[in-house]
């Protein structure tokens, strides 16, 4: 132990209460910081999850409340009108698009007896594609094939609002989850009395349903698509309340013009309908808007908390410096250099910070465990702890620098005065 260190220890013993307070403050700040940054990180990473569709080029137009009887027949007519808009590369009808919170979910197993409620069944989010919607969304095929014209035409809705055809396209993550290490092509998934053969595997597309996302690390991507005929695509949600969603794909530069033109043409063809159009980027932003606002709130609180902690350290160290002017003077008089005086206060702060961050890391870990139990929080990766500790260490050293430099300016003469 260096003599410096011994001095620091003995002086801290003399100021036990303030020292303990600093330790406590640093510990608390460290624990809160680790957890808050972890929460921010989780939300930010959710916001940036990749999504293998043409996000920038897609426009979604939804149409409700048209003439219920004519709605099914109007789909091919509407699509023809939409496809003839200049700049539209592809168009198709869908029941929902990723992240619009309208996807449906079911659970499938691998044995012919598997039922939806079996614990072993995998929960997934599905939506229906009308002919051309695969190209309109820009789905990226990895294995197998997309649906054939015949499969689209022969797929009407069953009473449970599931398709009559027996083919499905699933995401890569879902394929890996159900058939780990194998090719999913040609395999069958069951949810009694339904069964579907996987004909294609596509790159991961995001889904919005909490029940699906809870399925594991890649739960965000447990998605499946079924083919549907025009009549089915209109009634898939609610047979009595027909709704049609059209997806149009164009170059990003032409997207907004395409959106306006699509609304205009659909209004002309369906004067009684309520028509709403969105860019897919808006759908995505809306889905994650909550994440963004929570992340900002947490970040603001963290920054202010660190500032308050730093100010506290500055205030207390300044007090110590003033209180020990005489001691500092004596040390300077008997040969201590200015550097050594600065070093003394830095060592003192280092010691307090170290104890503080040790306690803080333990506290942070405990808080994380508590949150995991009560608030569906995930496990905090270990590196958040040393990162938080390092931040407070640096903050402490930075905060102590000002008062320490002022202490170094105390002239040795002070030693000769009374107080």
């Amino acid at each position: 132990m260096t003599p410096e260190f011994r001095h620091v220890l003995s002086s801290l013993r003399a100021h036990r209460v303030p020292a303990l307070l600093v330790i406590f403050e640093i510990a608390l700040a460290c624990a809160v910081l680790c957890n808050a940054v972890f929460m921010i990180g989780q939300r930010m990473s959710d916001m940036h999850l990749p999504n293998a569709i043409d996000e920038q080029g897609i426009v979604v137009v939804s149409m409700r409340g048209g003439d219920a009887a004519g709605a099914a027949g109007s789909v091919p007519r509407d699509l023809e009108a939409l496809r003839s808009i200049a700049g539209v590369q592809a168009a198709g009808s869908v029941t929902s698009v990723p992240l619009d919170n309208n996807g449906q979910n079911d659970a499938f197993g691998t044995s012919p007896d598997a039922r939806m409620e079996d614990a072993a069944s995998v929960t997934l989010e599905y939506s229906f594609l009308g002919e051309g919607a695969d190209k309109a969304l820009g789905l990226h095929l990895l294995q197998g094939r997309f649906f054939t014209a015949e499969e689209y035409a022969n797929s009407s809705l069953r009473p449970e609002l599931m398709p009559r055809s027996h083919v499905a396209i699933i995401t890569q993550s879902l394929a890996q989850r159900i058939w780990p290490g194998q090719s999913a092509i040609g395999k069958v998934m069951y949810s009694k009395p339904l069964w579907y053969t996987v004909v294609g595997v596509i790159a991961d597309v995001l889904c919005s349903n909490d029940a699906v996302r809870s399925g594991g690390d890649r739960g965000f991507y447990y998605g499946a698509f079924f083919p549907i005929d025009p009549a089915g695509s209109v009634g898939a949600f609610s047979p009595a309340n027909p709704q049609t969603n059209y997806v149009l794909r164009s170059l990003p530069a032409e997207r907004d013009r395409v959106l306006g033109e699509a609304v205009r043409r659909l209004k002309q063809l369906n004067p009684a309908a309520v028509i709403q159009a969105k860019r897919f980027t808006d759908v995505r932003d809306q889905y994650f808007a909550d994440n963004a606002s929570v992340a900002i709130t947490l970040a603001v609180i963290c920054v202010i908390m660190l500032l308050v902690t730093a100010f506290g350290i500055v205030g207390l160290t300044s007090f110590w410096v003033r209180q020990r002017r005489r001691q500092i003077g004596i040390r300077r008089a008997i040969g201590a250099s200015r550097r050594q005086v600065v070093y003394y206060f830095q060592t003192e702060n280092f010691l307090l910070s170290t104890i503080g961050v040790m306690l803080g890391m333990a506290l942070a870990f405990g808080i994380n465990l508590y949150l995991m139990q009560h608030y569906q929080m995930q496990h905090m990766p270990w590196y958040y702890l040393p990162a938080g500790a390092l931040t407070l260490w640096l903050l402490g050293q930075l905060a102590v620098l000002g008062p320490a430099l002022r202490a170094a300016q105390v002239p040795p003469m002070v030693a000769t005065r009374a107080a």
Binding site: P18, D210, A211, A289
Partner: protein
């Protein structure tokens, strides 16, 4: 004496303006952050119907098969009722009032031609709904049980929907076109928006949705109107009257403790009887009766994000308070000389303690003012969030008073230890070394 202490506090604080500013800032920031979040929590967990909530109860039955595995993240399949169970409870008339209900969205058309239709949210329910939840009618009344039984084509509109469709609040007797059905308006209610919308399915946006029309449940089924909200089925059939599809909510009014006890017994008997009939696989113990506030707690209408942010803000306040304790300690101990002189001249320890506590309180008061301003700023930013509860975020009188109480309490608590340490200074020793 208090005036003198205030004067002393003022002088002392002015001597160290930077430190004082730091302390006021710290307590202001801590109070501002925690009051912002506490206010949001407060408005969200408030009693939606303070006059009626003590009389409102929600029964709970569990018709799920014994081997049903509930996905933790999926809506609870037994939170809602099957049509046969809901109808059995409502028609048994075992409570003072009872109603079954489900939400729905219908296409409404303004009277006259050339208008684009629009969607309105509302409720399909049974006649007791209005008296039980105490909706007030501007004109007309609820439909009768006879209307309910006859699937009458009638509707009750909210004032705002009546104005939007007919241009007037008095539309009783006129015909409203909803989803291509012609419904006769029998009543117009004052707009009604309890926060949260406690009676709705967990799927609803409880803090922003409001029902704008009400029509008989039997009529809605006859017209095949679609309902909003979660529908859970476990045997394939999704016919509305299937005994294995839950989609309805049931509320009952019970006025006395004995009525509550009797209704509990009735529910258990009902569940037991269904089990005997072989329809239920779970025991009669699975039947429950919850009060409105209990139900809100169970359904967790307050998002867990809010709880997390409240905890974070309180932890932040704790950091601020610790900070102030340390700073006050430094400040008070530095004044050893002054304290010793006052002690030597006859001030008791208690006097010193009260003097220093006054000084802490002054800081707390200033911090409270700053905190209040910051909290208003924080609430303003919450109101601009996209969440459905955002518009509710503002302070009421009690919260305003609580803000000051919290600020004063926190600063007095922070001043306790430093003041106690300072009043134990030995005067003689201090005076000598000075």
């Amino acid at each position: 004496m208090f005036g003198y202490y205030l004067d002393l506090a003022w002088r002392s604080l002015r001597r160290t303006p930077v430190m004082t500013a730091l302390m006021v800032l710290a307590i202001g920031l801590g109070i501002g952050a925690s009051m912002t979040m506490l206010t949001v929590l407060h408005v969200m967990s408030d009693d939606p119907l303070p006059d009626r909530s003590a009389h409102l109860f929600v029964p709970h039955l569990d018709p799920r098969p014994a081997n049903f595995t509930q996905n933790l993240y999926a809506p609870d399949a037994s939170a809602n009722f099957t049509y046969p169970d809901a109808m059995a409870l409502v028609s048994s008339r075992q409570a003072v009032r009872q109603a079954a209900m489900a939400g729905g969205t219908l296409l409404a058309r303004r009277s006259g031609t050339g208008h684009t239709p629009f969607y309105a949210d509302g409720r399909f329910t049974t006649p007791d709904f209005f008296a039980m939840f105490d909706l007030s009618f501007l004109s007309g009344s609820a439909w009768s049980q006879a209307d309910e039984d006859a699937r009458a084509r009638v509707v009750v509109l909210s004032e705002s929907l009546s104005r939007e469709v007919f241009g007037t609040a008095d539309s009783v007797g006129r015909i409203a076109h909803l989803n291509d059905a012609d419904l006769r308006v029998v009543g117009v209610t004052r707009d009604w928006q309890p926060n949260p919308m406690f009676y709705a399915d967990a799927d609803a946006k409880e803090f922003s949705d409001a029902d704008r029309f009400f029509l008989p449940l039997s009529t809605s089924l006859d017209l095949k109107f679609n309902t909003n909200g979660n529908q859970s089925s476990w045997a394939g059939s999704i016919e509305h009257n299937s005994p294995t599809l839950t989609w309805l909510q049931v509320w009952v009014q019970l006025d006395t403790a004995s009525e509550v006890t009797a209704y509990r017994r009735y529910l258990a008997d009902y569940a037991g009887q269904q089990k005997k009939l072989g329809r239920y696989e779970r025991s009669a113990d699975s039947a429950h009766l919850y009060s409105l506030m209990e139900w809100l707690a169970i359904e967790r209408k307050v998002p867990s994000d809010i709880h997390l942010q409240v905890w974070l803000a309180l932890a932040f306040l704790a950091v601020c308070i610790t900070n102030i304790v340390a700073l006050l300690l430094a400040k008070f101990l530095r004044r050893g000389g002054e304290i010793s002189v006052r002690r030597a001249m006859g001030a008791r320890r208690r006097d010193i303690f009260i003097q220093l506590a006054t000084e802490s309180a002054v800081i707390g008061f200033a911090g409270g003012v700053l905190g209040l301003i910051l909290a208003q700023l924080g609430l303003w930013s919450v109101r601009h969030r996209p969440d459905d509860y955002a518009h509710l975020a503002s302070m009421d009188g009690p919260m305003l008073a609580f803000t000051f109480a919290l600020a004063l309490g926190a600063s007095l608590l922070a001043g306790l230890l430093p003041a106690w340490r300072a009043c134990r200074i030995t005067p003689a020793l201090q005076l000598k070394t000075q």
